[in-house]
Symmetry: C2
DNA sequence: ATCATTCTTGACATCATTGTCAATATTGAC
DNA sequence: GTCAATATTGACAATGATGTCAAGAATGAT
């Protein structure tokens, strides 16, 4: 390697993630990324190729963060507590910042028209893995659910989290979201 | 009125709705609308002002259709049957067309960056009214839920429908969505 | 039949964005 | 210290979108 990169790649991707999270893949422009990172547009093109390539890196970072946080929140012997922790985490995650950033996965999923196969695949991956995590938690309960039930229920829970993300975008406050989540957990597991 | 409009307004709005439904507010261009309706861009500007004005009309039409269909589906003495009907309707609604059109309300809600206050208001209105409809259904059961419970549960159900819309965008098939909805209804009301 | 009014049409200016490129600067390897 | 390889920079072309406008066409009212 000769001519050495003037910027810290990790820092650039972290900053790009912030931009994408706030604006979405479609609305975030290369100008936005250049301004936020302090790296010129041309350099970004040179280093990554195009906007989508940057997005994919940023999204991978996001997914890793998110799934780790989800795993931690779900790590509790009591299923109800685990789910409550999980929803708390997820709601804080999407209502953080001002204005709130929302959920990047959900926003990306809804960008169907724009997104390439690679992007769609990432979204499916995150949701699939999340479902796995939740399924494991449900199945792990002492005397827990049968595998098929745990699987179906996990899917329902993932679906509900997506609903929370939409409701946040529609204007629901953190408090309202938490109340919904609590009601949901009560209704679904509290029986 | 002299110089008479060459096109049928109702037909134009209906066609515009189809375009917005398939592409979303942001991605649908005036060119798309002109091509689909057979009305020139200039004429559309003259008649409606701008794209958002057309969208608002189209969305109102959509909302009316949707809420009426929801009301009909929910009109059943048995709460479980009512909800099953409702979810069937909503899932068919979003998986119709090829490729599927998805849910316009949800897509619009996620377009936060672009949307004006007027657009956001419409989205909130639809979701609010839907919640009312569901709440009424839940409360109307003979020996039904207390009002506060019905209200909270209605919100959860609305949230879940939004989740289904996201999962559809993420690639879930009609069959998968129906299974999730059935599991949800079982878990929430079947107790 | 004429007129005033409205609609239609195509051209235009403007703007934002993407992606490319040649010239220049930088620097590790030898 | 020279060189080859890479990064940076600013300019450029191309595209696609929005919104405006003047000129022309159409028509109900008189």
């Amino acid at each position: 390697m000769v001519g050495v990169r003037q910027f810290d790649e990790d820092e650039v991707i972290a900053t790009a993630l912030d931009v994408f999270w706030r604006k979405g893949l479609h609305d975030a422009t290369m100008q936005d990324l250049a301004a936020a990172t302090g790296v010129q547009r041309g350099s970004l093109y040179n280093a990554y190729g195009d906007k989508e390539a940057i997005f994919l890196r940023a999204f991978d970072r996001y997914a890793a963060q998110f799934l780790e946080a989800a795993g931690n929140a779900l790590a509790h012997r009591d299923t109800t507590t685990a789910l409550q922790n999980f929803f708390d985490m997820i709601i804080v995650n999407m209502t953080d910042g001002s204005p709130a950033r929302g959920c990047l996965t959900t926003r990306t999923a809804l960008d169907a028209g724009i997104s390439s196969a690679a992007v769609r695949q990432r979204v499916q991956d995150v949701l699939g893995r999340l479902e796995q995590l939740i399924g494991k938690t449900l199945g792990a309960t002492p005397g827990g659910r049968r595998a098929a039930d745990a699987h179906r229920l996990a899917r329902v829970i993932v679906t509900f989290t997506r609903g929370l993300a939409v409701m946040e975008r529609a204007g629901d406050s953190r408090k309202q979201l938490k109340e919904s989540a609590a009601t949901f957990v009560d209704a679904v597991v509290g029986a």
